[in-house]
Symmetry: C2
Subunit: 143 residues, 2 copies
């Protein structure tokens, strides 16, 4: 394996870290931190969501997550109910307000991505996506 190859992959990683950083700046204007946004995303996109399931999706300290969820409850964004099957688990459901806030965040993320690619032709946009998905397939295969 050449160092050249690795260096260039790392260069891409720095580049893409910046891209993600730019996109994440939207959170500065929102009510949410980046991590809170990610948590809300999982809550709104996971069947029978629980803290346990969220922690399977990405690395986050248990206590920190607990506090974020607590904060969401206080803001009226989610409801927690004890799971009927297993009393240690809490089932987490977004409230109507939670769904609305998530939809807002979602739209603003969509707008940003749209801006990011608006100057590309349709062909180029399709090419971009197909390359992304190929990268993902390769990296997942390599795990």
């Amino acid at each position: 394996m050449t160092l050249e190859l690795i260096d260039r992959i790392r260069s891409f990683n720095r580049f893409y870290t910046n891209i993600i950083g730019l996109l994440d700046q939207q959170y500065l204007d929102s009510l949410f931190s980046l991590t809170e946004g990610r948590v809300l995303y999982e809550i709104c996109n996971t069947e029978d969501c629980s803290a346990k399931k969220i922690r399977k999706r990405f690395v986050i300290d248990e206590g920190y997550l607990s506090r974020i969820l607590d904060h969401f409850v206080k803001q009226g964004l989610i409801k927690k109910t004890r799971s009927p099957n297993d009393g240690r688990l809490w089932t987490i459901m977004p409230t109507e307000k939670g769904k609305r806030e998530f939809a807002k965040l979602n739209e603003s993320s969509n707008r940003l991505i749209a801006q990011m690619i608006e100057r590309l032709s349709e062909e180029e946009q399709a090419e971009l996506l197909s390359k992304m998905e190929r990268i993902r397939a390769l990296l997942e295969k390599a795990r």
Copy 2:
């Protein structure tokens, strides 16, 4: 522009955020935070480096950067000298120790990337890189 396209790009972004997150965990074992590592990288890879130049490479609070540099000086990783041309600027140079520490960090990053792709064939590795570089070209063009 279809929503489907945007959704799938966002899905890639979440995926790649996790990849970068995994790679960044190496910093937990090192003497540096992620941001410090990035700053040290720029110092070791920029001609006539200054705080101003670092801030052109990525978004970082001026005061925060100043403190990181101060910390590096105290650790003996860098030397700051007033620029002869413009007394407002400080020229930042890594010391021998700074270069060594950076080399360590660098090697451990290289190892991680090597691990990440070791199960791919040479052809697949080359394909991965070429797709990354095409993505970068497209996104830079679109700016």
